[in-house]
Amino acid sequence: MATSQDSLQDTAGAVGKGQSAFRDPVLWGFLVALVLFFWTPELIIYMEWADFWIIFLTEAFIWSLFAVAFNLLMGYGGLISFGQAAYLGIGGYTAGLLLKYLVWMNFYVALVAAPIGGALAALVIGYFCIRRTHIYFAILTLAFGHIVYLIAFKWYDFTGGDNGLIGIPVPEWIKDPTFVSYYKFVLVICMVSIYLLWRIVNSPFGKTLTAIRENEVRADFVGINVQRHKLYAFMIAGAFSALAGALIMINERSVYPDLAHWTQSTQVLLMSLLGGVYTFFGPVVGAFLLLTMDADITQNYPEIWQLFLGGTLVLILFALPGGIVGFIQERDENAADDMATRMAKLMAQFSRKSWYFFGGAVSFTVFFSILQTPDSWWISEDWDFELLSLITWGILPRTILQLVVGAAILWWLLRGIQSFQAMHRWLLLAFTVLSLALHIYLETPLSGLLLVFLWAVYSFYCLFEPDTRQAFSGGIEVVKDAAQEAAE
């Protein structure tokens, strides 16, 4: 009986789907992002730093794909893999070896072979790993990952060992000196792949995977073959990671064992944690943020990069356990709350979160301002701290200015709780844009800029949320009512 009902239901659903496929806002979001990023090079090509930005974005997209694929396992499947870089390496070497040793090999065939190789490797490795859970799973993935690394490292005749595979032949158009062609190629592949992953996590398979993450025993007792689903998830993640690996290989036209090293695995883990593991786009934000910070710091102070990574991780785990995107989406909702209480909570959250964002933005910029200044006193050996020199280097004025701007915005925000009328809303946005412009003008490091940008996105996001919008427009009465009720 239930079955016939379901099939009825599903045919009805299919008709609905056919009509609404183009009303899927996420699809539109992807298309808009694709178009915007596709034409970005044309906009910035005449800028001084165009090459840097294009190379940076290329890398960021590849890592985003890698991080999202990884998070399919960690965030959706609850499977924390410490050896995901193995598939990066497998993808890179699969495509690299094919192109290098088979003269007739078609470039695109090699590119397609990478994810297939990744999926097959994941099938074999996953077969053993998914039989264990939690820490044992993590250790097994780490061990297998290291085996892959060692094979690449030791098998000189085949992989070139630590000399890597160099001079891998690629089509001429990739060698474009402006890097734009390859950027666009990567952009399209990554966008399509990430969209596919989005479909996967929202499909019945994805839902099933979340159920397994939540409660493996129960999942088994509703008739789900847990191990099989885990294995498929492992293979999907492996395939997309391998694709990312092949894209990295093509970018560099060479591949080294380091691509499969476990430090890469921890990097992608950190990206997911930073952005938020229980969100789909969190890892993308994490990838962008980490790579920006990487670009910031490694250039100037490579020796503290690891230290900084560790520090960031600790900060996230304590202050933002849900990651950045998780933090943005978090809603303190209780079905029993009435409208007024819910609004009051929302507003409180909004201001609290804005505090966090500004605290973060200000401290990051201050931190980097100090770091980026030559001979900055707290790193230099001879420790000659003088307030005067800080002023001459422009640190103090800049920081004070940032603090003032930050405080002003905060003040508006806090006022917003009481009276968030249209004008204040625009002022808020103006201030955000202004501070962004200021950051650009002052050439502050990228990370601070990115944080401010994130905060701006968050504000806009809030304005698009029907609940918050309502709270903004009718904010005064609602919040007052709630306060009065609480007082009574």
């Binding site: 239901q9 479909r199 499909s203 008739g223 079905a335």
Partner: protein, 246 residues
């Protein structure tokens, strides 16, 4: 005979938790297993549903040998169970909890690209309606009250359209009012769907109001079996069990 347990023994490294237990459940029967704490009731449930593999003995469902089969296989054959401690998907919404079970039952979990949101909605809401959780559909299930979570678990179990329900202390930790409500709910649903019921319970009023057949376990072995009245009057049972409780 729907379910047949034959001379099943389970030993945990020497400790015998289930000792040569045989048990039959007929189609449509409401059977109950009682016994003091640690008698081995949950262990027996775990053996029947495939969570544990017996050291000795065989278990048949529909005359098919299911000894040592994986839980998901046994579930697909038409056996549903709930747990003594609530066992739901805490970070999913109430709707998703049941939806996943329906998707699994209708074998749709290996669909990789269709959005799941709109799938099997009707069936899911019908089940939520049955267990009285339609209003909570959007709440995160982990935040629900204990009684609601038990109801939800029943919904999840029913989603696989089972023939037999194995409920391990469905009213554990409930207030008297909640207990009455949920027993009524369970009885109504199993009557409507013609389900066979095998449950364990500590509350004797509940047991004697619902059960058609009672099996008493003691230290892993069957002590007595039969109609409620017979079991009630069994001297052994009175001595070790009912006497203690009263």
């Amino acid at each position: 005979m729907l379910l047949r347990v034959e001379n099943v023994t389970m030993s945990f490294g020497g400790f015998i938790a289930t000792n040569n237990v045989s048990l039959n459940v007929e189609k449509g029967q409401m059977a109950c297993i009682i016994g003091p704490n640690g008698a081995g009731k949950s262990t027996l449930f775990n053996l029947i549903t495939g969570h544990l593999t017996p050291t000795m003995g065989k278990i048949f469902f529909h005359d098919q040998d299911i000894t040592g089969k994986a839980p998901h296989t046994i579930c697909q054959l038409g056996m549903g169970r709930s747990f003594q401690r609530t066992n739901i998907f805490p970070r999913l919404t109430v709707f998703e909890n049941v939806q996943v079970a329906v998707l699994s039952h209708t074998r749709k979990t290996l669909n990789f690209l269709t959005p799941a949101k709109t799938m099997v909605q009707e069936a899911t809401f019908a089940l939520l309606e049955d267990v009285g959780l339609v209003d909570q559909a959007k709440s995160t299930s982990g935040t629900l009250s204990y009684g609601y979570q038990k109801q939800l678990e029943l919904g999840i179990t029913l989603a696989s359209d089972p023939e037999i329900l194995l409920l391990d202390e469905p009213t554990a930790g409930m207030s008297p009012q909640e207990t009455t409500n949920s027993i009524e709910l369970i009885a109504r649903i199993s009557r409507e769907r013609g389900l066979t019921l095998l449950f364990t319970e500590h509350d004797m009023d509940v047991v004697f109001s619902v059960a058609e057949k009672i099996t008493v376990l003691h230290q892993g072995a069957v002590l007595a079996e039969g109609a409620p009245e017979d079991v009630k009057n069994d001297p052994d049972v009175q001595r070790i069990y009912l006497g203690e409780a009263a």
